[in-house]
Symmetry: C2
Subunit: 241 residues, 2 copies
């Protein structure tokens, strides 16, 4: 049974790392104080030691433990034995390239399909989708392909930003970028605003966190879903990538 928590952003303005989602994160990994050891994937940032230290501090404050993938001898064995996963944000291209290079996509996918809880923030949420085609990140490195974990049948756009009505900047708005995506692809795109989370448990998906979610479908007007909405219907759809 799938157990996935997808968070838009790891840090909410003015709060500590993972503070805004700590209740959901602790519950996801067996409860605060449970001591569950989660395997951390630090590859979206360049400084793995510093990143693991930040994540470990937040996890230990919840009474959980954290082991970072870059610290283990045998990455594949660590993935196969992991009680759960946390993939942090940063650059999605860098993250995906490293997981492809190390051959870790398939082992992570298998463990999560077998029921190991997965937490993703930002880039770590992007890679749960079929591809990384809806990331906001700069393509600073070239992965083998854009294909990612494919654990859900939709695309996510984290840090979703509404158009600023008074902007004079001529770069594309986020909504226009997603419209361009739908000129080329069929897959629905979920605009997950900052503070928003998707909680998946088996066949059920719920929108958590304060903001509403914006759902984009090819050829349709975007639709808004309020916090608490049951979005399970999006898990059942089989759509051409």
């Amino acid at each position: 049974m799938l157990r996935i928590l997808l968070v838009s952003n790891s840090t909410q303005h003015g709060q500590r790392y993972l503070e805004h989602c700590s209740a959901e994160v602790a519950r996801h990994f067996g409860g605060a104080g449970s001591g569950t050891e989660v395997l951390f994937v630090p590859y979206a940032l360049a400084d793995h030691d510093a990143y693991a230290a930040t994540a470990r501090t937040a996890f230990e404050a919840m009474g959980l433990r954290l082991r970072s993938l870059h610290e283990v001898e045998d990455a594949r064995a660590a993935v196969e034995a992991a009680a759960g996963f946390f993939t942090g944000g940063g650059n999605t291209f860098r993250l995906l390239k490293r997981l492809q290079r190390d051959g870790l996509l398939e082992p992570i996918r298998s463990r999560v399909r077998a029921g190991a809880p997965y937490l993703g923030t930002s880039a770590g949420s992007n890679i749960v989708c079929p591809t990384i085609r809806t990331t906001n990140d700069m393509p600073i490195v070239e992965p083998e392909s854009f294909d990612a974990l494919g654990l859900v049948p939709f695309q996510l756009n984290p840090h979703y930003l509404d158009p600023a009505p008074d902007s004079q900047h001529m770069g594309e708005t986020r909504e226009r970028r997603i419209r361009e995506f739908h000129e080329e692809n069929e897959m629905p795109v979920l605009g997950l605003r900052e503070g928003g989370m998707l909680h998946i448990e088996g066949a059920k998906m719920t929108l958590c966190g304060p903001p509403s979610l914006r759902l984009f479908r090819r050829g349709q007007d975007p639709a808004e879903y309020a916090s608490g909405s049951d979005l399970s219907f999006l898990l059942g759809e089989v759509v051409q990538a």
Copy 2:
């Protein structure tokens, strides 16, 4: 001799398409009223007919002519015979994928190296660089590779945006994205603000348009160059991609 005009954005807020750079564009193609026929590359947007019509209107207002690549029978022959090129903005991944698929990168590169003037706006400027690794666009489609025309030995970031000091949004600033690029790559990155242009004539490169340019180098603080600056030194550098 290279003759390249790289424009950050095709439309300046409150002005018509290409209006803010029309003097430079007309001069680039033999002068207003010269009747030069320029080959337009419309592939960064989905609607090629509409895009070509917009570009043609702007070119005809300058007394130039425009033929769109999507209207010709033999694209390769049209490229080889072209008196000049204009590649418009839109999505850089879509643009590059199409040029790769049609085998047009090498013929365009050869013609421009042989002296045919090239104009790029936004995505059309990005593809003049060695790779598209510093585009702002969403990776809505997957090109064969990120390798582009490689006519200049630096990377460009069009629509460069300074960090907003009061923003509460936790997505990466443009400066932070470029810093991430330099965690992985050596190549200098030129942040070209809206209204900015780079004019290349042989071994000479000049910054035109009102805004200053921000130059990012790996391991150094960013540097600002005022409008009118001679940036020829950036053409002579040989740097590892």
